[in-house]
Symmetry: C2
Subunit: 350 residues, 2 copies
Amino acid sequence: LLSAGPVAVRAAVAIEKETPEEERPETFLRAADPAAATSVRARFERMIREAQDEVCAALEAADGGAAFKEDVWSRPGGGGGISRVLQDGAVWEKAGVNVSVVYGMMPPEAYRAAKGEPGAADPSAKAGPVPFFAAGISSVLHPKNPFAPTLHFNYRYFETDAPADAPGAPRQWWFGGGTDLTPAYVIEEDVKHFHSVQKQTCDKFDPSFYPRFKKWCDDYFYIKHRGERRGLGGIFFDDVNDYDQEMLLGFATECAKSVIPAYLPIIQRRKDTPFTEQHKAWQQLRRGRYVEFNLVYDRGTTFGLKTGGRIESILVSLPLTARWEYDHQPEVGSEEWKLLDACINPKEWI
Amino acid sequence: LLSAGPVAVRAAVAIEKETPEEERPETFLRAADPAAATSVRARFERMIREAQDEVCAALEAADGGAAFKEDVWSRPGGGGGISRVLQDGAVWEKAGVNVSVVYGMMPPEAYRAAKGEPGAADPSAKAGPVPFFAAGISSVLHPKNPFAPTLHFNYRYFETDAPADAPGAPRQWWFGGGTDLTPAYVIEEDVKHFHSVQKQTCDKFDPSFYPRFKKWCDDYFYIKHRGERRGLGGIFFDDVNDYDQEMLLGFATECAKSVIPAYLPIIQRRKDTPFTEQHKAWQQLRRGRYVEFNLVYDRGTTFGLKTGGRIESILVSLPLTARWEYDHQPEVGSEEWKLLDACINPKEWI
């Protein structure tokens, strides 16, 4: 659903239980939220909701039959979300596109640690819990065809309010997110196209973004106990606040807009590729790795499970089906081995 | 593989990388291990290796075709294991029966905390790391037929040596383990038979064991984010050292011996039950829950993944295949609902 955001949030206490809603509200922001219409939080919420609409419409058109099922939910104290899932379509086995808005409280030590203050570990520096706001879009798309890759993207914005006992204290904010590709087979043309679109998007904002966020992605989606990455990467960044806020809002917006041009041309090319049972079994084994990463390492998933987020929204990232064979070793030089090699030794694709 | 044992071990540092062996050694104990032949550690190792042989022979006979594949491995500093896996048999989709012996080091704070010493949190009480020994048998058996339940059992023995800087310090030991049943459908006759065998085994040693260890099992195999248990329980205990050591060794031995009489009669009755695609899909959804529990909560699995245990042995507990459907809700009153209800509200079966 949402990533954990800054280290701070991982220590936060449980959030309130969600309740289903009949209708999509205009906004999930609290009515009392200051400058509701023009604030970055309000503009970010509008951005992710537009992105959700656009991505879902494009996916439905590409699937050519199945429709997204929508669940709207809210929390009594403010916040909520819209989960959309397309299951057992013509092209996608399971596709989830969620937006959510969270109001919560984090312990003051976590807040100080996140700000990097030297007194972070000093228990004598008394302060109350810090209210935070988080909004994000999160999506995982698992196609049926073993030659059509899985896509994940997630963009999120995070803010702390002034603490209740220090009304003048500065407000903190962070952006995070990324888009990454997880194929079962390496088709160079596809991986190059995907990374090229990521680089073009990054380059519009800062020439350092693509190389930095590409490496961050390779480092983040690492299944430590396997010594391999979940897939072939893309871009990833977290807790970023050392650029102009407007620039980062623009960057996240552009990243979300680039999902469809980065992904759909690949799907159009591969959705009808003939395949064998062996190809399908290998895809299922890689889906098993996807499950391992998400349940063991992913910050958003593990944070969500621990804090009482909406379980079905969080776990919609898991594939419809997955497989674990004991000690499976692809034959050296095979197509399966090439994918595994690229997951073990990340490559420069462009 | 092994459970984390006492809280202490979870903080232990990574263990050495394993190397494959051509032959099963007589023992995985270090040659220099004191009183090698008569010590509890030696007797426990012999017990689990005999149990592995007996269980594997009984499962192969019941499967009527498939044979276990064996991997033997050792670690340079002592210890090792035997992993046996039967995959895609006539009756079992995936069955793993592993034994292992581990020599490791745990931080002194963890050791003091495990002993319950009041000074546990006092950093001024200096001491070196504490060597530990652990041995265990661990098994998960996933049948193909949706009416034939999954079985898990694991019995382990744990000891600390005297710390290097305090040679006279007392040696600590603990036993842990359990046997539990995870069906996709509630067949009362089967669950009652399974729990009755657990109770009979417990009652030979202490009348308090079955009620205590039955509840401990219901509490342990809890998927917190779902509010439901993995299955229909059995017995579970951990860090137990408040009984006579010989009595507990005898109890663990008897528990391991009761696995086949508790489980095989159920398999014989259910392995050929006719089933539909719907039954199979529900079994696969419950297998997804099994994966969630093992990767997110199970102490043995999460400990093993973090400390560099043998990954294929640890993850052999995962089913061959599993399934996650978005927001699946069984119809109230259906057979699927009855299983879910029993996982949410644990029952007294006997």
